[in-house]
């Protein structure tokens, strides 16, 4: 059966509107990228609760902090690079130390803004946001999980970061399957090896598992929609008895999924490898697939890592 795809950005905007209908305290801030993050849908539905802050991300983030201190649930969205990077100090100092209800949408994350190059490609956002105490980091794999992450972010007390991909991603999660913040999400059963992934790489891991099956290897696939707090115990449990473990992330290997799974596995003796971006910036390319292939982030790369560990 052909795999369907959906867009996380549309899901983000639509879920904001749904939340806005349910809760008059939900407000949205944007820095001139509402048509990209798709928060423009909220603007149409609730113009009074939508604040266009101009191209001034730092001010946007601190204003969101003030709105949260005034009792609102403030969603502040922009490209991921500008959210975690340009406004890092604001996120750390006021929002996170103060545990304020600011929900940050890092849109067009990873390499997904393929044409705009290194300045627009957030390859270290998960590491940086995860390192901040009090921060929750969601890394949804598809549109359904993005909706669930938006809802989970709104429900929790304190700051959250939601990583969203620019391009259509493979549907991996059933709409009616429950989302447990802070927990592993088993997506495919398998008895030989375990594949862990988040974001767009979950779809690639599912494809890799299909390909491995053809090679006689039974792979389980586990999505990690919450990178912080990280489910170390759940990961360790799902790795028990595995002949190999491979992680896959559209992110630097430093401080992301590879690092966290390696910590979870310490002392277990289970062989592990990762598919991730090396210690380098992204660059422009004519398409997302071309870029992912260049950085070793395809189903084929994951499969090759698994087979190398089994050899």
């Amino acid at each position: 059966m052909a795999k369907t795809q959906s867009n996380q950005r549309a899901a983000y905007g639509e879920e904001l509107v749904a939340l806005g209908r349910e809760n008059p305290n939900v407000v949205v801030l944007e820095a001139d990228l509402g048509k990209s993050t798709m928060s423009c849908l909220f603007q149409e539905a609730f113009p009074d609760r939508y604040f266009e802050m101009g191209i001034a991300e730092q001010n946007m983030m601190s204003t969101a902090a003030g709105l949260a201190a005034g009792g609102k649930i403030a969603f502040a969205g922009t490209f991921a690079v500008f959210a975690f990077g340009r406004a890092y100090d604001q996120i750390r100092q006021t929002i996170s130390i103060g545990e304020l209800n600011v929900k940050i949408c890092g849109s067009s994350a990873g390499l997904s803004d393929f044409g705009d190059g290194a300045t627009h490609q957030a390859i270290e956002d998960v590491a940086v946001m995860s390192a901040i105490p009090n921060m929750t980091v969601f890394t949804p794999c598809d549109a359904t999980e993005a909706r669930q992450a938006v809802r989970a972010a709104a429900a929790l007390q304190g700051p959250a970061y939601i990583r969203v991909c620019r391009n259509p991603v493979t549907d991996c999660v059933g709409a009616d399957s429950p989302f447990e913040p802070g927990k592993c999400r088993a997506l495919r059963k398998g008895g030989d090896v375990a594949l862990f992934a988040h974001g767009a790489m979950v779809g690639a891991a599912m494809d890799a598992a299909d390909a491995l099956e053809g090679a006689g290897v039974s792979a389980r696939v586990i999505g990690m929609p919450t990178m912080k707090p990280f489910d170390y115990a759940g990961v360790a449990r799902l790795c028990e008895g595995m002949k190999a473990v491979v992680t896959a992330e559209e992110h630097t290997f430093i401080g992301g999924l590879a690092s966290a799974v390696a910590l979870a596995l310490r002392g277990s003796g289970v062989p592990m490898d990762y598919a991730a971006i090396g210690d380098q910036f992204g660059q422009s390319a004519g398409g997302a697939a071309e870029l992912m292939a260049f950085y070793g982030l395809t189903a084929g790369d994951i499969k090759a890592k698994v087979l190398a560990l089994l050899r």
Binding site: V27, Q58, N59, S62, A69, G70, G71, T94, G98
Partner: protein, 296 residues
């Protein structure tokens, strides 16, 4: 009040009572720094003591026994290094016992080196990284507007602090959103950590700058509590635009050897200086008490 003091608020029913509050804030600041070599932000805490007395003793609607009182006005100390002055104002108006002030900056204390909303009753938002308070104040004002509330938001900034670019992003936003419930107060003491602001990084002409950013500008002597209150009333009466009170102040005000000395931005006091500072402030309190008695 019989003398027609129009800003009477709770226990502070006269100008003298507010001047005494300001002197007690300065005295608490000196005690928190102490005379044993520890450093503290003396200069910028003393320069804003009269402003804090005007706000916490008279202008703001708040209930110290109920820090989360929903109808309260909000104060953001954007110059977070004046935390000890803020703590003194909170303690002197009854948010927590004055004895707590002794624990300032000690391990486990509710009184951190910079304001922390989760640890200290009465602190609305954390500050410490300069230049962010005005944006936070904007957010609070927007939240109150959505709630249909007439509550006010006050934001105290330092004159060195406004070199931060985010202040000007926020200044544009305040006027874009026509936040007339917001009043910024600039504690213009003329000195920053390493010397005169004007020699470090020019930010003048300030009234023109703020006006061109869409603000109503009011100038006042930041140590004349009546003038500060009149300026804040003028801000209340200004509709459709945010107001800023540019308050001329003296860094280290009230402690003669520390006045206009940049080294006391975050300095320590010798035992002798500590005693002299307390003596001077006790003298001031004695004068005010005598004046108050004569007034009665």
């Amino acid at each position: 009040m019989a003398d027609g003091w129009k800003w009477a608020n709770g226990p502070f029913g006269s100008l003298e009572s507010l001047q005494m509050l300001a002197a007690r804030i300065r005295r608490d600041v000196v005690e928190m720094i102490g005379g044993d070599g520890a450093t503290g932000h003396l200069g910028g805490s003393c320069s804003c003591a009269d402003i804090l007395a005007a706000l916490y003793g008279a202008k703001m609607r708040h209930r110290p026994s109920e820090p989360d009182y929903p109808g309260r006005d909000k104060f953001i100390c954007s110059k977070g290094h004046a935390a000890i002055a803020l703590y003194a104002a909170l303690a002197e108006t009854g948010y927590f016992p004055r004895e707590e002030l002794r624990s300032v900056k000690q391990l486990g204390s509710m009184l951190q080196g910079h304001p922390d909303r989760l640890k200290t009753p009465g602190v609305e938002a954390g500050t410490g990284s300069l230049g962010q308070g005005l944006s936070i104040a904007n957010g609070l004002a927007l939240a109150m507007r959505l709630d249909g509330s007439d509550r006010k938001v006050y934001c105290l900034m330092g004159d060195g602090e406004i070199a931060e670019g985010q202040i000007w992003e926020a200044a544009m936003a305040s006027s874009n959103f026509r936040l007339d419930s917001l009043t910024a107060i600039l504690d213009q003491n003329g000195l920053q950590a390493t010397g005169p602001c004007a020699e470090r990084f020019r930010t003048d002409p300030l009234p023109e700058k703020w006006r061109s950013f869409g603000w109503h500008v009011i100038r006042a002597d930041g140590h004349d509590i009546r003038a500060v209150l009149e300026a804040l009333d003028e801000a209340d009466a200004t509709k459709g635009a945010p107001s800023i009170v540019i308050a001329a102040t003296v860094k280290g005000k009230g402690i003669s050897f520390a006045e206009n000395v940049a080294a006391f931005h975050n300095g320590s006091l010798t035992k002798e200086q500590y005693g002299a500072a307390l003596g001077e402030l006790d003298g001031r309190l004695g004068e005010l008490m005598a004046a108050g008695a004569r007034g009665r």
